[in-house]
């Protein structure tokens, strides 16, 4: 089964000035597209030829894992933004955040730290762990929490390509602006679906 690049659910300039059209253009049109092309080429003639992305993430290694997981991670990342969205957690998710982190502020501080301190390329995630609790995790390179039995809710790409054209070495400024385009309605829907 060949994978295809999902279209962005908003215009290329919709997240400006927080994430520029140039950054999104390369990130989606070049990086995400390359991961799609690479995984499609790599799975040919392997046991993963008919696999879903989730199966690839759980069972593959090397290039197939790296490219397959990056297809999933980027789709998950791009789908959580909107130009006009809900900028604060609400409802059941808000309650879960307060239950597991104490407050939204404390959650944000811990998430920012995880995103800022991941050394090299990788991702910071808010996940539901197998015990049903919310947790913040870091993954290196293409790492994906699904591999560890954790369900992702929210992610911040901290590969330099996610922010270098806009913020250069200032990763913390990218993380600060990241929150300005996160749509918590989408994160809440993910949470509500997963805890059903």
């Amino acid at each position: 089964m060949a994978f295809s690049l999902p279209a962005l659910p908003y215009a290329m300039d919709a997240l400006e000035p927080y994430i520029s059209a140039a950054t999104l253009g390369f990130h989606h049109g070049k990086h995400h597209q390359a991961y799609v092309n690479n995984v499609n080429n790599l799975i040919q003639g392997t046991p993963f030829e008919q696999a879903t992305l989730e199966e690839i993430i759980l069972k593959s290694d090397g290039g197939i894992f790296n490219n397959g997981a990056q297809v999933f991670n980027h789709t998950f990342y791009f789908e959580q933004f909107s130009p006009e969205g809900c900028r604060e957690p609400k409802g059941a998710l808000k309650e879960a955040i307060e239950r597991d982190f104490g407050s939204t502020e404390e959650f944000t501080a811990q998430f920012n730290k995880a995103a800022a301190t991941l050394f090299g390329s990788g991702w910071a995630w808010l996940v539901i762990n197998p015990e049903g609790k919310l947790e913040i995790v870091q993954t290196s390179n293409a790492g994906c929490p699904l591999r560890d039995g954790k369900k992702p809710l929210l992610t911040c790409d901290v590969w330099e390509h996610a922010y270098y054209l806009d913020k250069q070495n200032l990763r913390p400024r990218y993380i600060e602006d990241f929150w300005k385009v996160i749509d918590w309605k989408i994160i809440s829907e993910r949470y509500d679906t997963l805890i059903k």
């Binding site: 990086h31 390359a34 090299g120 390329s121 990788g122 390179n141 590969w159 330099e160 390509h161 250069q168």
Partner: protein, 199 residues
């Protein structure tokens, strides 16, 4: 004794058009400067304070992640600036050329192996030409690791290295890492590489 960010032996504009001045300045002052400051902070009051950077990195498996990451970042960038020069210096010659021929067959074969290592390193890291068991070999390492480290897959003395963190090329080349690696060959200071092989 604390480590100091070295001055570059050429202007920030000197490597254009292959590496632009803005990339050079941010890379040197912010990234390399950051590793240097963070290394000094991480070493303060530790048992490793006052040791040479080589000695520290050789014990990478035993030191804190902060010292390993920032110490690697400090050393690797020092080497990177040293092996670059405006316009490049001729081609490998003398003892270095002999060693390259003996290990790879030709300079072209070395370039091919090194380019492959640089282009295929997934995520952030470095590709290296190093002296390993009296032979030149090519390897790559993740993040700010390097061949001096006891944790490196291929250990030895690095004599040439390319930074393939995206910060090294993104303003110039964006996603096109292969173009950056190709441009890099126009900037090699082969005299310096030969000196590292001898020294």
């Amino acid at each position: 004794m604390s480590f100091e960010l070295p001055k570059l032996p050429y202007a920030y504009t000197a490597l254009e058009p292959y590496i632009d001045a803005r990339t050079m300045e941010i890379h040197h002052t912010k990234h390399h400067g950051g590793y240097t400051a963070n290394l000094n902070n991480a070493l303060q009051g530790s048992a490793w304070e006052g040791r040479s950077i080589e000695e520290i990195l050789q014990s990478a498996g035993a030191i804190s992640p902060a010292v390993r990451n920032n110490g690697g970042g400090f050393y690797n960038h020092n080497l990177y600036w040293e092996i670059l020069t405006p316009g490049g210096s001729r081609e490998p010659e003398g003892v270095l050329l002999d060693a390259i021929r003996e290990s790879f067959g030709s300079v072209a074969a070395l370039k091919e192996a090194f380019t492959k290592a640089a282009v295929t390193r997934f995520g952030s890291g470095w590709a290296w030409l190093l002296l390993h068991d009296n032979k030149l070999v090519v390897s790559s390492t993740p993040n700010q690791d390097n061949p001096l480290m006891d944790v490196a897959e291929v250990k030895g003395k690095p004599i040439l290295g390319i930074d393939v963190w995206e910060h090294a090329y993104y303003l110039n080349y964006q996603n096109r890492r292969p173009d950056y690696v190709e441009a890099f060959w126009n900037l090699i200071n082969w005299d310096e590489v030969a000196g590292k092989l001898k020294g």
